[in-house]
Symmetry: D3
Subunit: 135 residues, 6 copies
């Protein structure tokens, strides 16, 4: 179920119809950072060293910001009006995903369930992304 990053590159790059500068946008960027957030949350939960836990929060915050940033760039720079027409859920999907990336309720910030939801949204976005690339 995980995106095969290098494979995906190959797939796009060897595509007979891909003579454009492609591969610059890639949902893998957001996914890598979201996986990092997930792993940080696990390490946070497993630790009882206050300094380590505090560092984990600092770094998780940066990684979450990167998830948001990569998603925003896809939403604004890659997707075009025809995509939003064909996939009417796309706006909400990005809005929900970026909200999850920034989720910070009392429970949300270190709750593994939240980052799993985020990964799910990113996978939905990635699925649409690769469909539009094949189109």
């Amino acid at each position: 179920m995980l995106a095969r990053l290098l494979d995906a590159f190959a797939a796009t790059e060897v595509s007979a119809h891909c003579d454009l500068p492609c591969g610059v946008y890639d949902p893998a960027q957001a996914r890598i950072e979201a996986q990092s957030v997930k792993a940080i949350i696990e390490k946070y939960a497993a630790s009882d060293d206050p300094a380590f836990k505090e560092r984990a929060i600092v770094i998780k915050e940066e990684r979450s910001d990167l998830v948001k940033h990569h998603l925003w760039v896809l939403w604004t720079d890659y997707f075009k009006p025809p995509h939003f027409e064909k996939y009417p859920q796309l706006h909400s999907l990005f809005n929900e995903a970026t909200k999850l990336a920034g989720a910070s309720g009392a429970k949300g910030s270190v709750d593994p369930a939240v980052v799993e939801q985020l990964l799910g949204k990113i996978d939905e976005i990635a699925k649409i992304f690769w469909e539009t690339k094949q189109a």
Copy 2:
């Protein structure tokens, strides 16, 4: 027609119903940067000093990125599902505004008309924003 920044703060802060941490979100942030882009474009057009023009492009790029960033933050962090229901155009408005902020077609990048359109979109967003704050 311009947002009255300080007045707007006062307006929200003294609002009897404002018991939330308000004033942190403000479309003025995006507008200030977009005005900066506009002024840079004017200076760019008026100059024939290559080094000055190149600096203008560098700085304009940064300012445009800030416009996008401030808009993305509003879209993801301030606006909530009920807002998107009440203002169905809101997703498109933000998507178009951020696309304009990053507009970089051969003509677009230093075309005053593009930044005027951007300012118009930001004003539409600001109008909705302040309506939601009054609600």
Copy 3:
């Protein structure tokens, strides 16, 4: 012959008909971030979730840095020698405000009184700023 890139905005904007706060420089930028710091401190105090409190500290640090940055830009880029002559307290005002923005004594870092002082200094700066724009 070219005026400074950003400063010249004033010249552009202070056309005879422009008596509105429409410049690219605007103390509102610093104030928005300082209000954000204030709201974060309130949320920090109200929470007893360690992860939330740690995130609050991370984000507050960023926002405080932005307050400092916006104030420094005003001080260096907007204000000119005649302003400093007319308002001899201006240097100290900026120095004290940026020191407050970075205040980090044991009590200072999450003390609402510190951020209130900061907001007061920013308002003093804003008052002078708008006087110079009217001049």
Copy 4:
């Protein structure tokens, strides 16, 4: 007793069943940015709009910095002494790749051949990276 925050991801992910590219470290990050540099160089060459070309240079500079950053992180944070023993060319490979990412000789800065070399080095690094993940 705690493993290093990010490095420990490898340990987590290299469970017996994890033979997919699912780590937080991933040479794809550097590759995506390098492909972006390549695409920018092509667009730069194809354009004769000075403002567009200048923007291309600004953005290419940022992307090149990201290539360097992602490679540096891999070299410092992912690879360990045993890797450097097993792959004695690894230090030079990273040093050459990051030098290429920053390459700016007379021809280099917009020379497609330089970015092709860079992509080749990244692919060599990626090959070693995935070998170490399988190990």
Copy 5:
């Protein structure tokens, strides 16, 4: 022997034996970046490759921003009210130096004379800085 993080600089640094540059604050940081600006200007002047010249402008802009940043930090974080009393020119010195760092008049932006003035101001600041460290 090392400076006490935020507050206690004064306390530690006034040690009679500390005549080395061992503090966390060091005007060398600003000077290194200013020298970089100077060298970039020289390379810019010596080149007639448009892409190289454009990259030089991009990088010079970043370096100038760093000069400003390092100076602002010194002014706000290191220097204290007693310093400003003893050296009444200190506020102006920093204001002029940061203005020079951002100088971008028609000739200024790539004018070696401007960066020489900047280096001179930084040296004046450094002289005062080291005097206060000896005190």
Copy 6:
């Protein structure tokens, strides 16, 4: 025939009469940040104010990142193949130093011994650096 933008500084600075630390590359940049990390660790240990300690962690993280960045730049941009031939330990030295800068084991993250080791590595690098400048 243009030399690389930044590398060429070396050429400029390695004039026969330049025996001062006046180059654009300067290991002092990494050392200043590492000293900052050390001082932060001391303050962290001396404090029992949770908010202060959390801020210390945030700022230490940034400073450590800067140490890594300055070292990476030296390794990639300043040092050349002949240097690596003459000083075969140089690759490992940088790799170990940057690993130490990011060290975050249970004890490492606020352990004064780790930062002392880091300072030692930076001093070894600096020694080699200045030897190459004299050469």
